[in-house]
Amino acid sequence: MYYYVYDEFIQDPKFERELSLVETRLTDLGISGKIARLALFRDAKTLIQDEIKKGAKTIVAVGNDLTLTKVIEAVADSGVAVAVIPIGSPNSNRMADILGVPAGVVACDVLSARIIEEIDAGDINGHRFLHSAIIEDAVAPMIVCNGNYKLMPTKRASIEIKNLTLPEPDVRAANPTDGRLEIVIRTQGRSWIGKKKVTVSVVPVELARITSPEIMKITIDGKSIEAREFKIRVIPNQLRVITGKGRKF
């Protein structure tokens, strides 16, 4: 049984035609199901968890990365499959791209093919994530890794925790099936000719704790929280995600 979670933004008239095509294609493929429309005061987590209790086996986020994040948070340890039908700009659908799910109506065929991959989830202070989390400007942070050693940037640093990301010029892709998260620390210094120079440290971890004397803001798959301490862990093979043939991990 499929349960479709429509994000609030796709109820905008400019997505009406695309949505209509998606619904027609889902009916043709015989995988249409119940629809929930998110709104300002409708809690996605409660809606989805109620539907899982009623027997939903696949929860489909219809929207963007933020929609998928809401679904992942709600699904937690239930074991149901998660999928996405990306709607909107490619920049807001990075996760779907990595999962190999094309935007719009073509995604329905990926959904129908049901290629399910078990992938790791990240957890920061109880918030689940699929892609990454970032602290843009951490002052004197201390990162205790796997309970064995401490990492201490000697300058202001940005700290990123990656689970499922594409390669960057200075950092390799994060693999969501390796049972680890990648901590990426970027510090800024100056070269001997005074030019700005960013140094990049990369450390794979299963467990980490980031603390700072000042309150830090972390953005977890687009959602921000603030705290002085972040407890981070990987939950191996926790999510069952429907992927396309073009997946990038």
Binding site: N146, P167, I185, T199, V200, S201, V202, P204
Partner: protein, 123 residues
Amino acid sequence: MAKQTGAETIIALGVRVEGEFISSGDVVIEGEVTGTIQTSGDLRVGTDSKIRADVVAQNATVSGEIRGNIQVSGRLDLLESARMIGDVTANVLSVSPGAQVNGKITMDGRDVEVPEDQEADSE
């Protein structure tokens, strides 16, 4: 911007590590480490790095400073700017001109054997 090295773990300049640093892949260290370093992969210690730790690795290339014992089961390359203060154990050792080694060197765990005729000559 730094380029990808292919190493699994990178400790760049501007980051200090304290404690038991254990890895199962290749490690590049450009920053500071205090404690112990242990990897079943290869280790590269950069020019500006300062390590105060006992080190165990499969192979290692050192350009920076290590204060502590290093044990390498394969090949150890001490490059020109390397400064080693501690005992070295390696199967294959390469020391570039300019590299400093202050410590005992043990290779393959065997004593150095002097050929018999050479012993006779010296008598």
